[in-house]
């Protein structure tokens, strides 16, 4: 009796003075009261910890523990519905949380299972820091649904591509293996990844989703990016436009007029003779202009441009093949470093 009183005093007295440690101390005191079967005294303490009026910092694990002991206490007080509510709150706070059968009674565990069946949630465990050989090792990811459900597990890559890892029925914890390959078979690149799980309950009409982030970093020789495909600005036009025809016509007429003007203006008038030679060239220039227009109408493609573009594309493909070959060699020595991350932005 004296012990209970001391624990109560410890739990209620001065908890506002020591911050985060005070929450842990208070929770420890409540657990001791529970262990001493002083559940009537433990319940108000646990209530205070999970109440919105509790001004001290409470970690997620502490909140889950408080709800679990609160539910267990209610069970011992034969308040099954209250116990169920407390366990649901624990599940909502952390879907991965469970009751230890060595510490809690089968009845309490049974009520917890009932809470899991009635409270639907999915969860994804933060990724552990790990070093992976991409050639033969996988990254193990853990997801969970609190009861029977259909879930989808996927990764969103730094360049916003989605890789599906699992889609199908699930109950409880599931380990998903990722071979660090993209959908196209290439190795995962460096950057921030988002691991998503979305689920739809098979028991209640509810859906839920969760996500965590992790960073992938390449350790070893840096890989070289392949060159992007040639865009329009990188290639020469392959079709004659109307401007080309106008310019050709103008140039040809310039030659024709130039020949006639030369024959007329350049000679000394006293020895000026026939201009037929100039007129022949002028006529040929006009015929060349007409021939140009007809030829381009019949052959709208610039043959040399098409060949030049083909040559550029082939050169680009050859460069990329060499880069891929070099990257494959480098990847044999590379390792992927996986570290958990806090959010979407790097």
């Amino acid at each position: 009796m004296r012990t209970r009183a001391a624990l109560t005093v410890l739990a209620l007295g001065g908890f506002a003075s020591r911050g985060a440690a005070q929450t842990a101390d208070t929770l420890a005191a409540a657990r001791q009261l529970y262990d001493a079967l002083s559940v009537e005294q433990a319940v108000p303490i646990l209530h205070r910890i999970v109440a919105s009026s509790w001004s001290l910092p409470v970690s997620a694990a502490e909140r889950v523990t408080a709800y679990q002991y609160l539910g267990a206490s209610f069970q011992l007080l034969h308040a099954r519905d209250s116990a169920l509510d407390a366990f649901r709150a624990a599940i909502r706070a952390d879907p991965f949380a469970d009751l230890d059968p060595q510490r809690f009674t089968p009845t309490q565990v049974g009520i917890y299972r009932a809470a899991q069946d009635s409270e639907f949630a999915v969860g994804v465990r933060p990724v552990d820091s790990v070093r992976i050989d991409p050639r033969n090792e996988h990254l193990t990811l853990q997801v969970l649904s609190t009861h029977n459900a259909t879930i989808q597990v996927s990764l969103v890559t730094p360049d916003k591509r989605t890789v599906s890892l699992y889609a199908g029925p699930n109950r409880g914890l599931r380990q998903v293996e990722w071979d660090v390959l993209m959908a196209d078979g290439s190795f995962a690149g460096a950057g921030r990844y988002e691991l998503r799980v979305a689920g739809a309950s098979a028991i209640v009409n509810r859906t839920d989703s969760a996500r965590v982030y992790f960073d992938v970093r390449l350790e070893g020789p840096a890989l070289t990016d392949t060159l992007a495909s040639l865009e329009a600005g990188d290639q020469v036009p392959v079709h004659y436009g109307s401007a080309w025809a106008r310019h050709d016509l103008l140039r040809a007429l310039t030659v024709a007029v130039g020949a006639v003007v030369l024959a007329d203006a350049l000679p000394n008038d006293k020895v000026d003779g026939s201009h037929v030679r100039a007129q022949v060239v002028a006529g040929a220039a006009i015929l060349a202009a007409a021939g140009t227009l007809l030829y381009r109408h019949a052959h709208p493609d610039l043959g040399q441009a098409v060949a030049e573009n083909a040559r550029r594309n082939a050169a680009r493909a050859e460069q990329n093949a060499a880069i891929r070959q070099e990257n494959a060699t480098r990847l044999n020595q590379a390792r992927l470093i996986i570290t958990p991350a806090a959010g979407a932005a790097p």
């Binding site: 050709d248 140039r251 040809a252 310039t254 030659v255 130039g258 020949a259 030369l262 024959a263 350049l266 000679p267 000394n268 006293k270 020895v271 000026d272 003779g273 026939s274 030679r277 100039a278 022949v280 060239v281 002028a282 040929a284 220039a285 060349a288 202009a289 021939g291 140009t292 030829y295 381009r296 610039l302 040399q304």
Partner: protein, 215 residues
């Protein structure tokens, strides 16, 4: 005789452009219709005829080309009072093309015109430029030319007071084949001597065909 020399000189001057825009080595055969008109103060005399020749062009750098041309032929006259003249010409042209639309020319030539009575020698050197205009992509090129012979020496005559050469034409290339059609006009006005002014004009129409090697 002088008319024959002038005719040859002018013909070869215009023929120098046969492969001006090409790289490698070009070899072309030329045939030119020429008319030589002279007024030495005694009324106008004209001769006309065909001149044959060959031209070799060599690309020395991406924008620099040298051409050597040799031509020869006979110009005849319809008048019984004037002699025919045999003309021959050797000339060299250096063309620098800093841009696709323009070439700057430097040239020199040695010419002779022979009649039954005399042989006259001409030498000249000068500068000029071509305005170049591509047609049908790069297969055909039109051009306008203005050359100025700055140094002219004519045996038996004073140096001309006015000397200018104009031209217009088309050049064609398809693979190794080269072709050209060129109109040219050469004008020489000599200073008055003994109260008479000598005027000369040569107009030409030249057709050339050749092959390009080494490119």
């Amino acid at each position: 005789m002088s008319r024959a020399l002038l005719s040859l000189a002018f013909a070869t001057g215009l023929l120098r452009s046969a492969a001006s825009a090409q790289g490698g080595v070009s070899v072309s055969l030329l045939i030119s219709s020429q008319e030589h008109r002279v007024d030495a103060g005694f009324g106008m005399v004209n001769t006309r005829g065909w001149v044959l020749g060959a031209m070799v062009g060599v690309g020395l750098a991406s924008h620099l080309r040298v051409q050597v041309t040799a031509t020869s032929g006979t110009l005849t006259t319809p008048s019984n009072n004037t002699d025919n003249e045999d003309v021959a010409d050797v000339s060299a042209l250096v063309q620098w093309s800093p841009a696709a639309w323009v070439s700057f020319n430097g040239f020199g030539s040695a010419r002779s015109a022979t009649t039954p009575l005399a042989r006259q020698h001409w030498t000249s050197a000068g500068l000029g430029a071509d305005l170049r205009m591509p047609l049908i992509g790069s297969a055909t090129e039109g051009f306008l030319r203005l050359n100025v012979p700055l140094l002219v020496s004519v045996s038996g005559l004073a140096a001309p007071s006015v000397s200018v050469e104009g031209g217009a034409g088309l050049r064609y290339r398809q693979g190794r084949f080269l072709g050209q059609l060129t109109y040219g006009l050469l004008r020489y006005d000599f200073p008055p001597a003994a109260g008479r002014t000598r005027l000369e004009e040569i107009s030409t129409l030249t057709i050339g065909a050749g092959l390009l090697f080494g490119r």
